[in-house]
Symmetry: C2
Subunit: 129 residues, 2 copies
């Protein structure tokens, strides 16, 4: 499985989204997680994400390797933004290309669950409205 995992501090661009899958693959699933306008019941204008960068990259790659043993896919791309992220902007973009949709859905769900618990990227604060 081809894997690309990146941390960026700028806006995640439209051109980084998934292309049409290669003709041997039948399915692409793409997830975009964005900053909501409320945090703990308070209206906000931005969220601050911090990351322990080298460890975060290593952990994301490890999770993908482990989960791909259970849910084999063709290609995975993960781009996680950190720093101050305005409301509405994308904080994480993940796309997965696979021969069949089941594997892509399973790998995406497993990766996102473990991202939240195992990867040192965290909400460090927010900017109120």
């Amino acid at each position: 499985m081809r894997t690309s995992v990146t941390l960026v501090s700028q806006r995640i661009e439209e051109r980084w989204r998934s292309p049409e899958p290669k003709s041997g693959s039948g399915a692409t699933v793409e997830f975009r997680g964005c900053v909501r306008d409320r945090e703990n019941g308070q209206s906000i204008s931005a969220l601050d994400y911090e990351a322990y960068e080298t460890m975060a990259l290593r952990m994301m790659e490890r999770i993908l390797d482990e989960e791909a043993m259970k849910h084999p896919c063709e290609q995975v791309v993960v781009i996680h933004r950190h720093g101050r992220i305005p409301v509405g902007d994308t904080a994480i973009l993940v796309w997965i290309e696979a021969r069949h949709r089941g594997e892509a859905f399973a790998l995406l769900a497993a990766f996102m669950d473990r991202l939240k618990t195992d990867v040192p990227i965290w909400k460090a604060g927010f900017a109120p409205c």
Copy 2:
């Protein structure tokens, strides 16, 4: 939940893909199912999909209504192509916007499973290479 279900006979265009979610929503998941280069072990150049159109649209809407009771989401868009679809082209595009990713993943998986069993859209033939 806002719902849009469409059958088209032309190419599914890039501009129909999911936009960034509204600021109250946190998650968008997008699925693209494409024509693979093999069908039943044979190399092909295109697949022919046929649809019983009015019934297919009604069934897709009903499935979304039913599944959204279990997995509430903000918006769903489904575009299914029929007719002759060349290898590599998108046969179906589905995108779902939700407050939380769990509901979006669950609705997408449930819809795709039921699409295959309950909706009168079928592979009517293929063009060999």
